[in-house]
């Protein structure tokens, strides 16, 4: 609590330091001699980055600036004015119409926070930072709860980490990139998304099915690209404080600075901590780990539009220490307590350079380079897992046209180098591996600007352990009518499976590990290879003067080879190459509708048919709900004169029954988990452009799994298991947070 009080105090101090404001009203006089209030006028201090926009009644309020007293008024269709303000605290301005010197377009329609385009060839959903705010807590892995394209599940009862899935497949089958650099992979597969603080994210692009070949061959069921805050676009200072009823504290601080007319920098600081201990289900184990962590990111942006150059340089470091296991202090144990620690640190650096020929705008060149080192040391009872990955990635991309801009192409080279060092399990078996690959790609896109577009790409990669191979991918879009669009995609993907890193929950069990095949290049196993194809149809409609749309998706992933992770036998976990069929078929129907100008409604039904050949038979994937139903309502009141507003958000999730692998302690479920309902909600009060408070609850329907840790009395025995998790472990969690933009 102390932590929280200190933060509140800090905020109050900052608040009282805050500058004084100049306020006023902006209007113009029309041809009929009436005075009309002007909305959307940009008001900013000359040669400074401080700027505001007038509201629908023409009111504005801008902090006084010491360095200048010249205020600029700018609006589309009006003459720009520069006014010397002097000591005034209030100033009303009258603009003059001017239709000859227009130099800026201001569009002021509220955008949907999740956007699906009719015109993009690929099935891409764009998620804005505003949408991310709806899931107030806290990192990217927790931010998909209001998004029907991605499912979130829990991987084990010890670490509480959430796993994302798309089209019925787990996150290792997704290519997760950060600004088009492959990021959450290898050693960071399980925790990677949880190490990206939500407030750092500017937007996310989710591609369903086969995407582009540009970022590599690894994506199988889809791609998620995360765009982080850019120095040029962000507010000068941003502060966010969060506290949950389960004792979690989060602090975010962003500082944005202009270094010269071309160079901007941003510092992003994030800290989190939870030292409170909860065991609400009385199994002797902590319901969530205690942790301490911080992330630092400093990036520079060079923008030289005259010469067509944009460049980024970023340096980043994160550290996170988690502790979980038995609550030794409160249990009077006669044996050794089962404890777990996961300590991670990671350093990232990247450099990007983009050049657009100012005379030939369709020609551009991009270069990027990234280095990271990821280090995880962990133990779970007497089992051990350490992994270190050094990674280097570079790519070069060239864009141009063939004939005219209806025919574009992208071509380039990628090079990647990964060096893994692992120490696995109680006997500390050492696995070392180096993956090197160089690849070239060519992607052609055609758009007739009307009803047809396509993206056809192929890449050829030479990989030291996967071999040399082609990866072809095709996306087609056909839009026969204004509001009807069909999309088809087909393409292949492959990856080297990091079996221990991807399935780390194995160490929080007493299961013995069986590695069955012994001749392949990865732990004796072969690379995974699959073909993904799918069809999507979207139909827009207008009902009661409000827009809506229906989307129907059907995607199939067919595995040529897969590493079968077999939990079927109690007390053991086996990894082996697929011998037979494996597929994931996903069907989704989604309805989006704006009930009124202030209410948006989203609903989705999803059916997953994910089956593969196990040694024990052809079965549905365990812990994968066959059916899911999702509903989200968001409401926002109109902004009043002072920019005050209410926002409300409510999500309903129905999770269908899931097949459970056999375990004697779960026999009462008869092999299938019960279906259940999850409810989340959030309320935000916007006090001004600069200050807002939010309050929310997760799992407010209070559904939890009764006995999440099996054989918790004998954590060192072979029947001990914390991975057969189908529902939340934590009862309703309430949280409160503050956001401050200065």
């Amino acid at each position: 609590m102390n932590f929280f009080l200190r933060i509140i105090f800090l905020l109050l101090v900052i608040k009282s330091y805050s500058q004084q404001y100049l306020t006023g009203k902006i209007s113009y006089i029309n041809k009929e001699n009436q005075t009309i209030n002007l909305e959307g006028v940009s008001i900013f201090w000359l040669d400074s980055s401080v700027g505001v926009i007038s509201d629908q009644n023409g009111f504005y309020s801008i902090p006084l600036e010491k360095s200048t007293n010249k205020l600029v008024f700018k609006s589309l269709g009006f003459k720009n004015d520069v006014i010397i303000i002097g000591d005034l605290k209030e100033y009303n301005h009258i603009m003059t119409e001017d239709l000859n010197e227009l130099d800026e377009v201001v569009l002021s329609k509220r955008k949907n926070t999740i956007q699906k385009s009719y015109f993009k060839t690929q099935n891409i959903v764009n998620v804005s930072s505003e949408e991310l705010l709806k899931a107030a807590c806290c990192n990217v892995s927790e931010s998909f709860e209001t998004n029907p394209s991605i499912d979130v599940s829990y991987s084990n009862a010890i670490t509480g980490v959430k796993q994302v899935r798309m089209l019925g497949l787990e996150s290792p089958y997704l290519l997760i990139t950060e600004e088009n650099i492959p990021m959450v992979r290898g050693a960071s597969q399980v925790y990677g998304l949880s190490f990206i603080p939500g407030p750092w994210v500017e937007s996310m692009q989710i591609t369903k099915g086969t995407g582009s070949v540009v970022n590599g061959f690894e994506s199988i069921s889809g791609q998620i690209n995360i765009e982080l805050k850019k120095p040029v676009n962000d507010a000068p200072i941003f502060i966010n404080v969060f506290r949950s009823g389960m004792g979690r504290n989060e602090l975010n601080f962003h500082l944005n600075k202009k270094l010269s007319s071309k160079i901007n920098t941003i510092f992003l600081v994030h800290a989190d901590n939870n030292s409170s201990i909860h065991d609400n289900n009385y199994d002797g184990f902590l319901d969530h780990p205690t942790f301490n962590g911080f992330n630092l990111f400093n990036r520079y942006q060079l923008t030289d539009l005259e010469n067509g150059i944009v460049s980024f340089l970023g340096l980043r470091y994160m550290k996170n220490d988690k502790e979980a296991g038995e609550d030794a202090a409160n249990l009077k144990l006669k044996r050794m307590a089962w404890k777990s620690q996961i300590n991670t640190d990671r350093f990232d650096s990247n450099f990007k350079l983009g050049y657009v020929n100012p005379n030939i705008p369709y020609q551009s060149v991009g270069f990027q380079m990234a280095y990271s080192t990821h280090n995880q040391n962990s133990f779970f009872g007497i089992r051990n897992y350490d992994i270190k990955q050094n990674s280097f990635y570079t790519s070069f991309l060239y864009n141009s046209i063939i004939g005219n801009t209806l025919n574009k192409f992208k071509t380039g080279l990628t090079f990647s180098y990964d060096d893994f060092e692992e120490f696995v399990d109680s006997n500390q078996i050492n696995y070392n591996r180096i993956d090197k690959s160089i690849g070239g790609f060519f992607e052609y896109s055609y758009d007739n600007l009307e009803d047809l577009s396509l993206v056809a790409g192929i890449r050829y990669d030479i990989h030291n352990t996967l071999g040399s191979f082609f990866t072809p991918r095709l996306n087609l879009r056909y839009q026969p009518f204004d509001k009807s669009v069909f999309r088809f995609s087909i393409g292949s993907g492959r990856k080297a499976s990091n079996i221990f890193s991807e399935n780390q929950e194995i160490f929080s069990t007493g299961r013995t590990i069986n590695l069955v095949n012994r001749n392949g290049n990865f732990y004796g196993l072969n690379p995974e290879k699959a073909l993904n194809y799918g069809l999507s149809f979207r139909q827009g409609f207008n009902l009661n003067n409000q827009d809506g749309d229906i989307t129907i998706d059907y995607y199939v992933t067919d595995f040529d080879n897969q590493i079968v992770v077999d939990w079927e036998n109690q007390g053991e976990l086996s990894f082996y190459n697929l011998d037979g069929k494996s597929y994931a078929k996903s069907f989704q129907i989604e309805v989006d509708y704006s009930v009124s100008n202030n209410i948006n409604f989203k609903s989705a039904f999803k059916n997953y048919n994910v089956k593969k050949q196990y040694n024990s038979g052809f079965k549905q994937n365990p812990l994968t709900p066959k059916n899911r139903f999702f509903m989200n309502i968001d409401f926002f009141s109109p902004k009043n004169d002072k920019g005050q507003q209410w926002k409300f958000d409510f999500t309903y999730n129905r999770v269908g029954k899931q097949r459970l692998p056999i375990h004697a302690d779960q026999s009462l479920y008869m092999g299938w988990s019960p279906s259940y309902t999850l409810l989340n909600t959030q309320l935000t009060r916007v006090f001004s452009e600069k200050f807002e408070i939010y309050l929310g609850g997760e799992n407010i329907g209070n559904y939890t799994q009764n006995n999440p840790i099996l054989d918790s009395d004998n954590p060192f025995g072979t029947n001990f298991d914390s991975t057969l998790i189908f529902a939340p472990i934590i009862a309703p969690m309430l949280y409160i947070g503050v956001r401050l933009k200065l």
């Binding site: 130099d103 005379n359 020609q363 046209i401 005219n404 080279l413 030479i462």
Partner: protein, 115 residues
């Protein structure tokens, strides 16, 4: 041998990339009358589909149409003529009255202002 493959992928692209020095490729900016997004779409679509036109971008606010085209394949006057035939005035060619009249309401640039 296989590295040659990757290399080939890459170098083929540069065949296309030296258009800058090509004397036939001309950059030009002309005024085209119009007022809205629909005008923009009509002007750009009509222009880019002409043989020899590589790039066309029309700005609503300035009414400037930026063009890059191959002067061997098409003359600027024929581009202007084509745009006029779609209903948009250029400096040299004016749109036929009947075509202009048939444009959607929002595109009537002679009577409405930029929106």
């Amino acid at each position: 041998m296989k590295y040659l493959f990757v290399f080939l992928f890459f170098t083929t692209s540069f065949i296309f990339s030296f258009q800058k020095d090509d004397p036939k490729t001309v950059n030009s900016t002309i005024k085209v009358s119009g007022v809205c997004e629909m005008c923009k779409s009509r002007i750009e679509k009509g222009t880019i589909k002409l043989k020899g036109v590589k790039y066309a971008n029309w700005e609503i606010i300035s009414n400037n149409l930026s063009l890059i085209y191959n002067s061997k394949k098409i003359k600027l006057d024929s581009i202007k003529k084509k745009i006029a035939s779609l209903g948009h005035d250029t400096d040299k060619f004016k749109a036929p009255i009947d075509v202009y009249e048939r444009l959607p309401e929002c595109c009537h640039y002679k009577t409405s202002s930029i929106h």
